[in-house]
């Protein structure tokens, strides 16, 4: 059957148009350079003013394994993951399965070089004659496979009605306006577009129309935003060990720092060290924080375990440090390129003995930026390790956002005594609670005063930082650390609360699950109105307690198997333990609104 015949047979031409509201998935093989083409599509839609979000669902592999890039456009602004109606089938290995997964009425654009594709009468098929379209294009042979991806950019642009000048602009941004690269890629896009307009007949209902909903917005990954926040937070020492999905955080930091943080003589005001392992990275951060530099590391779950001993030390000896955990799935290697919220309970109490750490939960690129600088303030103000728990979905994918607000308050360096202050005070006791907030005063090495020095140790110590195994010294020290943690409750970012006037049901969530939840709440507005508390940090404050108190049932929705935050909240608020219900799930993929909606309804029905 010819292409045209098959299309006519599908006969969807009469369906009413679907404008700016669908998902598209590009299926390719890893390492074929499709990321550039995918981001070009994403940027093109963004430049048309349509709310858009892209998610790269990829395997742990350098080259060859299948990868899927999901793009969702939504005039309503919903950007959670949603099964795709449109498929670009460029991977011979997965094409058959990918086609089977499309919903009825869906569209399949396929590389015409692929053989033996399954037939489905309920889909629209568009072939893309890739070999023909790239023949004779003036690029080096080794770039041919990369440029081949531009063929689907051209046909998708034709199908959805994306103006070619918009694609050109997006390509320009993608290639940093390097004209030769832009031109050779654009050549293929134009050819494909022209071929499609002459040889294909539009049979599907999906279209894009310009809007103004992305005006003034930026598009960036969470890891880039977090790194930029750290640059504006004054990070001076960064130490790390490569691990997916945190590596691009440090890549961004190493790219941004030279552009933004050279001093007036062109000298760096920073250093980034690739350590021999995560343990050493944590040690370097502790050493630097102790000596007075703003220091951070970024890692993921397995790295956190190696950092445990130092984090525990940092809690007990009271050393500022910032640790970004871009969470991925599972113990050990697990699913290293899949997303989760699986390190919450681990990070919160990481250490031996009684340990608790402030944990921040960014949910967007705006918050990644904000927590980027704020975490460095908090670490120095509280003199303790601070975690920022992002995830692979936020960290590695491109998100729309408002241009970041410049930090609203000046740098806060915490209670550090200078030589002059020491002279006036006649000395100090390193671990004494002078102000009643549990936060002691410290001095930095190099402070020119005979009373500045103290001895930092992981062994038991008294208020003067002297070695002590006295029972009352240890108990008093730990009680003060608990008091300090209580102080932290109102210093960490407060929760974002949307109180529904008549809702009896509340939702608590954190991080990137918000997008599926926000969409689900809208869809449930009539059937099941809910209030929503988006937790932005641990430890919790009174507002969280009040929120739980104000609702009959509160569902804690999260992307892990055991409901880790649910457990923490039950511990913190035992009086509400039965009111808090866990809605947890983990398969490595971001939540969908449909899943949230169905689960909430079934929970409510089962009451």
């Amino acid at each position: 059957m010819s292409v045209l015949e098959r299309q006519q047979e599908a006969g969807h031409a009469t369906r009413s148009p679907v404008i700016n509201d669908f998902s598209l998935v590009v299926a390719t093989a890893n390492g074929t350079g499709s990321q550039t083409a995918n981001l070009t599509l994403l940027r093109s839609f963004f430049k048309m003013g349509i709310p858009v979000h892209g998610k790269n669902i990829f395997p742990s592999n350098i080259q060859g394994l299948p990868t899927w890039y999901h793009i969702r456009v939504s005039h309503e602004g919903y950007i959670a993951r949603k099964p795709s109606e449109i498929l670009v089938a460029f991977n011979p290995v997965t094409a058959a399965e990918d086609i089977q997964e499309l919903p009825a009425g869906g569209v399949c654009l396929y590389n015409a070089d692929l053989k033996n594709l399954p037939k489905r009468d309920d889909l629209v098929f568009y072939p893309i004659p890739v070999s023909e379209l790239i023949a004779g294009v003036d690029v080096p042979v080794k770039r041919k496979p990369y440029i081949a991806n531009m063929a689907y950019v051209g046909v998708v642009a034709w199908m959805l009605g994306v103006p070619l000048e918009v694609v050109e602009e997006a390509l320009g941004a993608q290639f940093g306006y390097r004209q030769k690269l832009v031109e050779s890629n654009l050549q293929v896009v134009r050819r494909a577009h022209e071929w499609a307009s002459q040889n294909l007949r539009k049979q599907d209902p999906y279209r894009l129309e310009p809007m103004n909903k992305t005006e003034g917005l930026i598009i960036m990954t969470g890891n880039e935003a977090g790194a930029l926040g750290a640059v504006f937070g004054g990070v001076s020492v960064a130490a790390w060990y490569p691990i997916t999905p945190s590596t691009s955080f440090m890549d961004a930091l190493r790219e941004f720092l030279p552009k933004l943080r050279k001093d007036e003589n062109g000298k760096p005001t920073y250093t980034v060290i690739q350590a021999e392992d995560e343990l050493a990275a944590a040690g370097m951060v502790m050493g630097a924080g102790w000596a007075g530099a703003r220091a951070l590391t970024s890692t993921s779950g397995p790295g956190i375990s190696l950092m445990a001993e130092f984090v525990s030390y940092g809690y007990f000896a009271e050393i500022p440090a910032v640790i970004w955990d871009i969470q991925r799935v599972g113990p050990s290697t697990g699913l290293p390129t899949r997303t989760s919220q699986g390190d919450v309970s681990f990070a919160y109490t990481l250490g031996h003995g009684d340990t608790k750490h402030p944990v921040l939960f960014p949910s967007s690129i705006e918050e990644s930026f904000e927590f980027g600088w704020k975490s460095l303030d908090l670490a120095e103000v509280l003199q303790t390790p601070v975690f920022v728990l992002s995830d692979l979905d936020l960290g590695m994918n491109n998100w729309m956002g408002r241009p970041f607000d410049y930090p609203t308050e000046p740098l806060q360096r915490g209670k550090v005594l200078s030589a002059t202050e020491l002279e006036a005070l006649g000395g100090f006791a390193r671990y004494k609670d002078v102000d009643g907030d549990g936060i002691p005063y410290r001095t930095l090495p190099g402070t020119p005063h005979p009373l500045a020095a103290y001895f930092t140790r992981g062994s038991g110590h008294n208020e003067q930082a002297q070695y002590s195994e006295r029972a009352e010294d240890y108990e008093r020290l730990m009680a003060r650390l608990a008091r300090k943690f209580d102080t932290a409750r109102n210093l960490v970012p407060a929760p974002a609360i949307e109180q529904h006037p008549s809702a009896r049901v509340g939702i608590i969530a954190y991080g990137t699950t918000r997008y599926a939840i926000e969409e689900a709440r809208d869809r449930l507005a009539q059937q099941l109105p809910t209030s929503f508390l988006r937790l932005r940090a641990l430890p919790i404050n009174q507002a969280v307690r009040d929120f739980v108190a104000a609702h009959e049932r509160v569902y804690v929705i999260e992307l892990n198997r055991d409901g880790q935050l649910h457990g923490i909240l039950q511990n913190e608020m035992p009086e509400y333990a039965t009111r808090l219900r866990s809605v947890a799930h983990l398969d490595g993929l971001p939540l969908t609104a449909e899943w949230v909606k169905t689960r909430l309804l079934s929970e409510e029905a089962g009451l």
């Binding site: 050493a280 050493g287 000596a291 001993e309 930095l444 090495p445 930092t456």
Partner: protein, 349 residues
Amino acid sequence: MENPMPSDRIPLKLNAVGLSKKDYDGAASTLCKGCGHNSISSQIVQVGYELNLRPHEIIKLSGIGCSSKSPAYFLGMSHGFNALHGRMPSVATGALLANHTLKAIGVSGDGDTGSIGMGQFKHLMRRNVRMVYIVENNGVYGLTKGQFSATAEEGLELKYAGQNEFPPVDLCMEAIIAGAGFVARSFAGDAKQVRELIKAALSFRGTAVLDIISPCVTFNNEDDSPKSYGYGTKNEKPLHELGFIPFAKEIQIEPMEPGELRTVKLHDGSLISLRNLDADYDPTNKLAALERLIRAQETGEFITGLIYYNPTRPSLAEVEELDTPLAQLSPEQLRPGREKLEQFLQAYR
């Protein structure tokens, strides 16, 4: 009290920075009486006094173990950091990145360096972090009552641990291979040599490793153990006679001749005099240094003195082009202006 005031009540002999020798003391040692580590601590105190060091410009760091407790027992007016077992190098690296103008003295042990901390030790030297790294080496785990460390001799028998079945790690060889430019070995009982080596190491612009055989009086002092006092005094073979002359005039280094006095210029302009006792020994020759160590190991001797010296590698702070200490940056240097953020975000629109 770990933070003694500079004493001005008793008339004491003061050095050029107005401090008495007592001002370089730390808290009273809690190590065993007669422990080699205590004599090393007292040499650090002596060096601080003699070199007119300003205590606030020094940081002292350690890992875990008997040796690592000792920084509490010297330089009470310097900031100290008793880190994790085997992890002092990373903490030192971070601290010295934060403030590269500080002088760092690290004290570790053979277990802390040669076993649990071998990775960090090697990478410290590979990065050439400027610090004095002292290993108080006794071949045994004292705090946990006498297990063998990785530097214990093969075949050695100890009451608790039985017989050691594995060959020892030679920390000086490891240091040379990892790229340390100042590698010395000494014996805790040889106060003068220890002192002069510490002085020289302090002026070295990179990682200076001092492997000091420091006998454990409690768990590893069998006379036939190479890390006992009895063995040390009988078998010590000094390579050079050392004399440290601070801030003297530069002297040209000549090729080594047997028996010749050789003076090596250090980074701050101070000089170290080396008496070459081995006719065929040249401390600037890496291969010769390794060969000498291997030969000494084969004959059950330990050679002392400056075994390897190579000042050509830049330190980590130099590689990282650090200028103003990162711990002392102004708020303006730490946070770019508002317009920088707006400008930067343009590319993401």
